[in-house]
Symmetry: C2
């Protein structure tokens, strides 16, 4: 009988499973560094294996292929982003909803700026992630990321901060989509009006759009600094949901 230890989640974990978990973590760590250093194209099983003193086929004991590895680290990156945003949110007094939202959204952009390669693989086209590979992990991590914002948004709805479009102003086809969205994404407040979800979607689209434009460098030769445009959109979004905008510090 070997020494069965307990995971922090209470799962009995043998020595074998622990070392296995460790090497898997090493694989992901190296792969991710290659991602940020050489872009999405620069992640290769052989290079990762080489760096950790292994050969490429050995990695197949841990990962079912290069695409699956990318999905794995994508999930980790969502976790990172979620942590970063949550930390920024937590750095503001809990009752100060306005400042919390402002800070969280700026933290989102800030993380994107400092992690361009990661952001691109997370929010860009799903080129290599498409196959059926366990994308569920990445999805779950993405859901956790969104939760921070949804929680804050719930407060705005509860506090009736902004004018919510009445239900009869939401087209029927959009209504059913929004319902599905609110359900799967897990908006905390039950019976949140569909109009509010519509506003939320619109706000998210705007911020997603402006950050993608910046990271994907779509106005690169047309606009030197994208921060003013982001702040402008941020201001517009916050105005829409009844949150006070304040210019960024210094």
């Amino acid at each position: 009988m070997t020494k069965p230890q307990l995971d922090r989640s209470g799962v009995r974990t043998s020595r074998r499973e622990r070392v296995r978990e460790a090497t898997l973590a090493e694989i992901k760590e190296i792969a991710r560094r290659h991602l940020v250093e050489h872009g999405s194209q620069g992640v290769s099983l052989r290079a990762v294996a080489r760096e950790m003193g292994m050969t490429a086929p050995g990695l197949y004991r841990y990962v079912s292929g290069i695409d699956a590895l990318l999905v794995l680290i994508t999930a980790d990156m969502y976790d990172d982003l979620a942590d970063h945003v949550a930390a920024a949110d937590a750095s503001v007094p809990e009752q100060n909803t306005d400042q919390r939202i402002l800070t969280s959204l700026r933290a989102f952009r800030g993380w994107a700026l400092e992690h361009r390669a990661e952001f691109s693989t997370m929010f860009g086209p799903r080129n290599r992630l498409d196959p059926d590979s366990d994308i569920t992990a990445a999805l779950e991590a993405g859901r956790r990321f969104g939760a921070t914002f949804f929680t804050l948004f719930d407060r705005l709805v509860a506090e009736q901060r902004f004018e919510v479009p009445p239900d009869d102003e939401v087209p029927a086809d959009l209504a059913s989509e929004l319902r599905a969205f609110a359900d799967t994404v897990g908006v905390a407040t039950p019976n949140v009006p569909l109009g509010a979800v519509m506003v939320l979607s619109s706000c998210w689209v705007r911020l997603y759009g402006v950050v993608c434009m910046e990271i994907f460098q779509h106005l690169n030769f047309v606009m030197a600094d994208m921060e003013p445009l982001f702040e402008s959109e941020l201001r517009g979004v916050l105005e829409r949901v009844g949150v006070e905008y304040r210019p960024p510090p210094e």
Copy 2:
């Protein structure tokens, strides 16, 4: 003396140059088909060469590498998109500005839906296009694409369709960026107020955002059909610039 013929642009073109142009066109055509059939990853010099009965090194007489080839076809794709939007625009009576805008914007999304792979390489992260390779061609094509919308937008400004924020509501740092934007992108109307450019940017960000979200499949497991959300954003955008929204036909 050989037979010097005249290009339609008036450039003397020898036989050699003509056949050269033809094979370059073939290269791009095949590469693009591979792009739509096998995704961005599935474009390879060797495969293209194989299909046209050549060997890969031969292609280096026409293209300086695989990345440069991708940039080349990206420029072509912008041309295609521009043509598609322009055709949609031209299919509406010239005086009907509202319908022209509505149709053009829907044409943008429609093209994206029917050309997902192309759209992804055009509007997604610039992964393989980054190196200094003559990206100017793609930029120019992108500029032509935007021109259609800017022309229509100019009419809205000229007709004073919507409320333009006064200049003192445009932050100073944003103002200079917007000026650069208006200049390089070539907004036709001289002295177009900066507030109008700000509104234009905001509208474009929203539409870009919602279409990217759809094509990049970011709400795939959360929303079955993205059209209602697009139409909702479209409605909001048009409302902002004083254009009448009409639901899509049928």
